[in-house]
Assembly symmetry: D3
Homo-oligomer: 285 residues x 6
């Protein structure tokens, strides 16, 4: 299912448009005749990984079915600074009215994809998956995670419902890793793996014994992670997590963990830089 | 009206909760008894300007009316690394189920407020307003702009409806600054000022003559901005804009412009770092 | 952006349709075969200013994409009694099912436009703007204000967010006009003008001195308004308001105020009279 | 079920509030401290029938749970000019922020109730019901019809679903009154009566013979209505309809019809006049 | 109005799709290329009355406008085991993603229609209407009742609003049948008939005298029902109700009652059995 | 998180209430004074497993905060015919207005729980999980699956997003089980297990080799299932599925499969039988 057709994505597009348009675009309404047409070129103003082009386009379509597009790139593509990404044609008032909202989606999404790509490239090892987290902007989970995948990363669970992750608080509440895993195994759908967050070697041993499928190594040093990899010998999958910066990712990848999850991909990516150059055409369509 | 009571804010809180909870928090549901209570401490893990605490709290209340809070700080306060921000008490399953969603709001909002404060402090001049833009995360306009004000910044228009901003595309469409301003004056509500974006000195002169109330100086050098200030002699207000970095803001403030608008405040702020330490209490309430 | 495409307008159209249709149009469903086609003529049954034709049409489209239209007039046009406004063709069940809802929009909107036109024509002076207020039917603000503009009137602020209007209660709360204006200037977006409601000459003087951009003269006599115009000498704009009837509008306009705002335009306009004459065609499409 | 608790009423209240508040009440936010309290008196500024007080109150509660009320009248009561209707106490910002929206509901609803009362009083005959129609403001059907009942009128069907009304278009489509009634009887739920709109005596005879329960006499003269009453001799109920003015209602009532339906009650009632006098209290709560 | 275009039906379709899709169809997304096309045959796996085909189709259209259909049957048709009902062509990912949701609608609806048909056929008497009740699945009232009509049954009232049904609790509250009917007649819209639920012969006599239009005979034996029919002699209509099984329906029909209402039609129908056979076509469209 | 607080559950409760209430409960509104109080006893009219009591109660609370409850049983309890389940007290109009909607939830949910319990009891073996499927009523997925768990069953995946299930159509599209599993492993979140639907022994062997975590045995005979269990020797989990009737479930459980999934639990359960006995109290509260 195309990302822009997803009902939840349509809803957030409408929400974003309405918060920008309010009762109306007073400037365009006053300055631009409703019959004028326009053309616009979407340009990349820096090197970036494209993500969100179909969403960008849907924003315009949401306010006018008369906008047409010619794409020069697809989501996931690397675009060089100065390259043309898309040509738009349609009513000038629609181009101007939807511009900022459309760019807000595209810039955030491509920013996430571009940052993800940096992590993925830094890893160098094909076997390690760079994962996102649930640290996404409120309401934008689906799009943030899509952007990570466009940048070459992988999705961790989408929410609290499509993966079991037993964290320190759950363990404390249950009394022990063993008890927490036992409870989870007894109750969660059989379609879900059991992942356990641990903080030390003892925790790893207990989690493996309890039957965890995946272990999340929280805030461990590279040395500790290495020890963990050696210890589990592939019996369970390992995920390294906790404030991992771009410069440390290769080193961690080299330890042999299966996954490295990075909250910053979605909570702290810079917006990618684009511009939309609009030209008016007052001649008939 | 308190920010957390705003209908649009309530809506985005619910949207965010639902995208995280889905059908249910499978881990907590399996591991934690529904009768267990808990206590949680919200800690600042870096020096930050607090923004979003009422929203953070509302997320918990949205899934359980039995969560209580004790606040140690208010929005707008500067919080030092390691300080306790808020104490929460309530059903353990509610504390765990709402934690990530609540933190996602708080971290984004405090990140924006903290970055804004850096700009405001760098200015040093009281008379210059640091402004936000419409480059906000889709669906989060209201909260992003609130966060800017908590950081000491000021809000530019909220959308296309509460301020007239005649941009290059409008001018090109109308044929000239003069014509565009004339059209705007003839049609927009009298409650709105007319702001015009210009790119050079000739543009400023035309805009002043046309009767603009505010002029936006787009991507001008500091020298050009100085010239502009001198030229208008206070007859109109001036806004400097266009990729202004933290290190250049004081220099621009010194030119005497009235406003400096910064897209990065809302499109590229890093999330502020918080943690929520949860403790289980199995004794009766 | 065309009025009928505005997301909030679409929402109220759907709301109105659903409240009329409920589970189904029991009469049409029973009496009319789903394959029958029909044609309908929309007639003006009195002299009126047309407003809401695109909304009227959208109501039909909302329940069937197979309805086609031929327009003989546009919004804003003066239509004489008995003239044909629009021809509709489509499934008979759609024509009958949407008829009342579509007419309810059109009659209210054209009623407002027609009443506005009476005020505008009574003024005679081109320079005075007849303004609407926020006294609109709940949920119909956008359409009510659009209708005023179709009648030749101008829009005051759309809500509490796109214009500052310091009223008696604000002044009482702040302690004085001076203090209230000072607070507003210190905090509201620079894109908004400051309007102050005053009740006497002293208030005008204080408001001008405090730096108000616009002064609302509340319930003043024509003589007082004249005095106010003379006093301010064009330094600020003046709005006359407060129960102004059609017969008094020319006299007030002659005082030289800039704006006259009329709550009755939207809260007490009579519905304009239209009829929809439907003909059945049972022949194949 | 109390009118203000009806889900559809809550929805329109929220819609109305949001269209007025937008992102925020910029004036109150700037001028009024969030800690200030206030008191407000709702006054009737003309003689009126009260309708909508619970809705008025709910508007305030929707933005703050800290507003309290003391009622001096109930919906349906006749209130004299100058009388106090309700006392409100609560946060000043809530009183000011919800004021206009709350009044917009109350003024429309009381305007409808007051106009209805005039019709009811003019009738003088207890046995004739003054009925409303479906000519209501879009989205406000439930409230408009409630207001009619507060004024002493009765509700006709709420929509196309809770009553069968075979109109001229249905008859034309079906071929005859007889055929249309036959079709309706064969298909509609047995809980609904069959009402048929007729334009002449022949129509009445056919409708009675076909088994109609109620006959709507469309745009007939008083003489024709009299003839109709005589003709049917109480075998079916009769409804007079079609542009009936206040001055003609008694005459029509005297003919012996059962119902007189009046579109103007809801499509052309003037807003009733109220004012809300607000006082600030800065002392602690 | 076509059932699939009804706004409430569209809403429940979207709700159902979203609860099944969540953030995405992980399996199809991973296994199926987005460019692959497919074809699918909808087969009846048992003898059934078809209901819901337009809804089934709309589910697919909701996620992709590129799905096409060829229908071999219409709603209301009897379909034999093994017959092809519909051919679908379109993007494979859309066919697989919407399949279960679409079938859930179709199976429930056809199950209800099929069960209804059994009752209708068992009656044998043309004059007795088999009625549904309000015992429908929450949120599916409109579709459940539509399905009953496709099976040859008739709809009782759709909700609490389109029919008066005075039940035992109302009678107890009012004090007597007479008083309850009197109250209803005095207040409910004249478009609605008055139906009264009674438990014995005395109740029938009182209800007839009070002026009830319809009497619901609750849980009466066949003998009692016969007595009731004789007693009322056609002066009012009679509805038999209360746990009536398929094997008793003919006997009750033979008593001469007008209606037999059956809660089981909608609260306990078994899903009808269909299968959707999907074939992949990887060649270009 | 309590089931009745789930945002999606609240939404379906409101939807169900609105479809029953429409503009109003005409009968109760006419017959019952708004000040009258009532008491009601919820009785089980057959032996059943209770599910949905908190939802039942929430329906009443949604229309009046003044309804109070005393519970005699909890969800999951076995209730004997004739036992009292809950006592309700509150405004009579609320008790009558919400009754049918509340019962519709409770009867469906308890019907599912009761049927599930029959399957679970028939199994006799503790180690086999009785599973639900995605064959739920549209919009009621969350509640249907909750009811299964109250009956002692387990939940399969909630939707297409929280479990990978590679079906025949996916396999056909991918070309082979091996290829399909490979694709899934390469792309889906690591938190999800891979389940593959197979139809014969060869399929099982291929699936195990490809690395499936779970294998769904579709429509196999008991003998084939036995063979499958023997073949996999616990290396993967096995799920038996496909039209399994109550009388065959013990036999299948005895084969040693891990799961038996039953569509009928949610698509064909009979409503459980309850009654609500209401008593009026006209004395003051």
């Amino acid at each position: 299912m195309a990302i822009e057709n997803h009902p939840a994505v349509r809803r957030i597009i409408r929400l974003a448009l309405e918060e920008d348009l309010g009762p109306k675009d007073v400037t365009t309404d006053a300055v631009v005749d409703s019959t004028w047409k326009g053309e616009a070129i979407l340009l990349a103003k820096e090197r970036l990984v494209l993500a969100g082009l179909p969403v960008f386009k849907q924003v315009f379509l949401e306010i006018s079915h008369d906008v047409c597009f010619e794409d020069y790139f697809n989501d996931g593509d690397l675009v060089e600074e100065g390259e043309r990404v898309c040509l738009l044609q349609g009513p000038l008032s629609a181009l101007l009215g939807a511009e900022r909202t459309a760019l807000n989606f595209l810039q955030r999404m491509s920013g996430i994809a571009t940052l993800t790509r940096h992590y993925v490239e830094n890893v160098g090892y094909r076997k390690v998956r760079i994962l996102d987290t649930r640290k996404t902007a409120p309401g934008l989970r689906r799009l943030d995670k899509y952007s990570v995948s466009m940048g070459g990363g992988y999705n961790h669970r989408f929410g609290l419902y499509d993966g079991v992750l037993i964290k320190d608080n759950h363990i404390a509440a249950a009394g022990s890793i063993t008890e927490a895993v036992k409870r989870a195994k007894a109750r969660v759908p059989h379609t879900l793996k059991i992942e356990v967050e641990v903080e030390d070697i003892a925790g790893i041993q207990e989690a493996v014994k309890a039957g965890a499928d995946v272990i999340l190594l929280d805030n461990m040093s590279t040395a500790e992670i290495k020890k963990a990899v050696k210890l589990v010998e592939g019996r369970v999958m390992l995920e390294a997590s906790g404030g991992i910066q771009l410069d440390r990712v290769r080193e961690i990848a080299a330890t042999g963990v299966n996954f490295i999850s990075i909250g910053a991909l979605t909570h702290s990516a810079k917006a990618a830089d684009f511009s939309l150059e609009v030209m008016t055409r007052k001649s008939s369509n």
